[in-house]
């Protein structure tokens, strides 16, 4: 019994060194060498300043920009979180109705427009970086009008949107989507 207790202590110690120190530290070093950009958070640098991570969504309330998905944490990932409202939750029902009305009003759409579900439902992480292509298309007039784009710039905007569409990986994995932050960064350059 005493012998096994001692073995237990020693073994746990050595396994802690292997799996808790050597493994993560080595992985950090190797990742940093092979994938320096990804391992440090895919940070976008502009004028020598980090303006965000490519894969972490940011809040854009301004009509000059494309609006990302509703977020339960207002895009502040400390901590990350979701609404966790169930399908019969009255708060969810009210939120969805409000978001639909607002979406129709802000984008100048007709009442019977089919609103993309990603525009009315909050994401799981609270920082979903993407929205659907349909959602981007419906917002493009709002953005172009607010920025007083002429016809030439509107064409450029359409080209930009088409360029930024992310297809399913290898043709089958995941959904077609557009990264809102990347889109808005490029939008400022038009």
């Amino acid at each position: 019994m005493k012998k096994n207790l001692l073995i237990s202590l020693k073994l746990l110690l050595y396994l802690t060194v292997i799996t808790g120190i050597i493994y993560p530290v080595t992985m950090t070093l190797i990742s940093g060498l092979i994938f320096p950009y990804q391992s440090k958070g895919s940070m976008i640098v502009s004028n020598e300043k980090i303006i965000g991570s490519e894969i972490i969504g940011q809040d854009f309330a301004d009509n000059r920009y494309f609006t990302p998905r509703p977020s339960a944490i207002s895009y502040n990932p400390l901590p990350t979180g979701a609404s966790n409202q169930g399908p019969t939750n009255i708060i969810l029902k009210d939120s969805v109705e409000k978001r639909k009305k607002k979406y129709i009003k802000v984008n100048g759409l007709s009442e019977d427009t089919h609103i993309p579900v990603d525009a009315v439902f909050a994401s799981a992480s609270g920082v979903d970086p993407h929205i659907s292509v349909e959602n981007v298309m419906l917002q493009s007039n709002k953005v172009a009008n607010t920025r007083n784009f002429d016809e030439n710039k509107r064409i450029k905007l359409r080209e930009l949107i088409n360029r930024l569409i992310e297809k399913p990986q290898f043709g089958i994995f995941g959904e077609q989507r557009i990264n809102v932050l990347l889109l808005n960064i490029e939008l400022d350059k038009i």
Partner: protein, 563 residues
């Protein structure tokens, strides 16, 4: 659903079937202590670990010594994780200067990781330092998975040894599982995940000014190395609060697919290992197919529910609590896999799923985590159901039940029933108490039948050592932290102890030759019977409470009732 949705599901199941014999036969070699692919690399290192720890690797243990070693080893692990949290502010590698974790939360998290549950009452990015995540959680991710494998290995030896008295060596089982299986797979997976954008760094969190001019703090950390083993070891405790929904934990559809495959990879392959080690490959596939049938049935029901019209919100697709890059299909596939295996990681919020999808998730857990189940744990859970099944079959034909030539007698049945009843009792008794006392009800995020499901899910997840949640329930209260902790302990050791008692009893018996009257466990009839027993036991135990929760909610949702 689109064509690509079916393709992804098809590919997922196809790859699962393909990997099973490869990984399965490799593991069989490893666990028998034979020369394998990685022996040239780790062979000497393995011996070195034994030598410096004082392990005699040729020594065999009786079941009591095996169990004692397992319990001591687990208890020490629990103590270390507990202490690391209680004193994290005095320890290094805490760039955010996070304070010490309160006792009830430390207690819950330490039990949670020791028992392979990995329930998250904590939010990683705002509660735990990098040191605790590495030295505490990552280590337990490895050793708790290895503990599950050790128990199934003990049972395998019990069924294959004739008139024996020992069931193997716990220390070598643990070391071999980690060194030859869990660690190499984790290394490969870490690099695959980082290539997709999962973070792996010791930098402190970044404070940035966004394009819009607002402030955002971006949490970072050595996440990929922990996420790899979290998925492979059916652990499921996220580095970050929202687990694999957070882009730094699961950035692309490809990382998502890899993480999903990793959930079922080892539990599925272990069925082949099992067949190989008992010298009956076909029987391994028989168990595999019973699991796969249950899995696909649940998945189909869940998908149907999630793509239905919800009159409350007036939408055809439910995207609440889901990420655009995954969409509905990948979120549902994940939820089915993570609850079938006792993984418990999530890439969408189960709390926001439609009632029947939520019911599939919770029912997968309630069935005892045997649809592939936890690493090792799923298979020994399944063996317990097999024992019950051959017992019932024996009753029908009036013969002493046998399994793999070993007679199943009173003690074995008593233990098997104990292992089924204890976790079920935790779920029902604890939920019944929680719905009538203020400490239980004040944590709810949703009311009406959905509230009942939130509580029920919490205790099911604890008892099944799953770890996923209807996360709206605020479980970080002394009441839930302590009681869910106790639930996890009963759910884990309430099965492991009976399983090892069975191993100790079975190993002593002689192996009877197959005769004309032997009930074949390699037939389609056996698969049907086994699935029937699992469903009937689970159904009879939980049907009433599921009716009051998700079933009622479904009916009310269809009539647009809200709470």
């Amino acid at each position: 659903m689109k064509v690509s949705d079916f393709l992804q599901i098809g590919l997922y199941i196809f790859l699962l079937i393909i990997f099973t014999p490869f990984l399965g036969s490799y593991m069989a070699k490893v666990f028998k202590g034979e020369k394998n692919l990685l022996t040239p690399l780790f062979g000497k290192f393995e011996k070195l670990i034994y030598r410096i720890s004082g392990v005699n690797y040729e020594e065999e243990m009786r079941w009591k010594t095996y169990l004692f070693s397992l319990l001591v080893f687990n208890f020490l692990g629990f103590t270390i994780v507990l202490l690391l949290q209680l004193f994290q502010s005095y320890l290094p590698l805490n760039p955010q200067n996070l304070p010490n974790v309160p006792f009830h939360l430390s207690f819950n998290t330490a039990i949670s990781f020791m028992t392979n549950t990995n329930w998250q009452s904590y939010a990683g990015e705002t509660t735990l330092s990098y040191l605790v995540q590495m030295l505490g959680l990552t280590v337990q991710n490895f050793v708790s998975a290895a503990t599950g494998i050790a128990v199934i290995l003990a049972l395998i030896r019990a069924f294959t040894r004739r008139n024996g008295n020992s069931i193997g060596n716990f220390w070598t089982d643990i070391v071999r599982s980690i060194l030859y299986v869990l660690l190499p797979l984790s290394i490969i997976m870490t690099l695959l995940l980082v290539s997709q954008g999962v973070v792996q760094t010791f930098s402190s969190y970044l404070n940035i000014t966004t394009l819009n001019g607002t402030q955002q703090t971006i949490p970072l950390g050595p996440a990929a190395s922990q996420i790899a083993i979290k998925q492979l070891g059916t652990n499921g405790g996220g580095f970050f609060n929202v687990n694999s929904a957070f882009p730094f934990e699961n950035p692309t559809p490809v990382s998502n697919f890899i993480e999903m495959l990793a959930i079922l990879l080892i539990p599925a392959a272990l069925t082949y290992t099992y067949g190989k080690m008992i010298g009956d490959n076909k029987h391994g596939w028989i168990i595999f197919s019973a699991m796969l049938i249950l899995f696909i049935t649940g998945l189909t029901a869940s998908l149907t529910s999630e793509y239905q019209y919800n009159p409350v919100t007036g939408t055809n697709i439910n995207m609440e609590g889901k990420e655009v890059r995954f969409g509905v299909t990948n979120s549902v596939l994940w939820s089915a896999a993570t609850t079938a295996a006792s993984n418990g990681s999530v890439n969408s919020m189960h709390d926001s799923m439609t009632p029947l999808s939520g019911m599939v998730a919770i029912f997968n857990i309630m069935l005892g985590e045997v649809i592939f189940g936890g690493v090792g744990a799923g298979l020994y859970g399944m063996l317990i159901f097999i024992i019950i099944t051959v017992f019932i079959a024996g009753l029908m034909v009036g013969r002493t039940p046998e399994y793999l030539g070993k007679k199943i007698e009173a003690l074995d049945i008593k233990m098997a029933i104990t292992a089924v009843l204890l976790p079920s009792a935790v779920i029902l008794v604890y939920s019944a108490i929680a719905v009538v006392i203020p400490q239980g009800l004040s944590s709810l995020n949703n009311t009406g039948p959905h509230g009942l499901t939130e509580i029920l899910y919490a205790f099911s997840s604890a008892a099944g050592n799953n770890g996923s949640a209807f996360a709206g329930l605020n479980s970080n209260t002394p009441y839930y932290d302590i009681n869910l902790g106790i639930g996890m302990l009963v759910g884990r050791f309430g099965v492991i102890i009976p399983a090892l008692v069975i191993a100790g009893n079975i190993v002593k018996k002689n192996i009877a030759p197959v005769s004309a009257g032997t009930f074949s466990t390699n037939s389609g009839i056996f698969v049907v019977l086994l699935i029937g027993v699992i469903i009937i036991i689970g159904g009879l135990t939980f049907f009433p409470v599921l009716t009051l929760g998700p079933v009622v909610e479904q009916l009310l949702m269809k009539s647009a009732t809200v709470f």
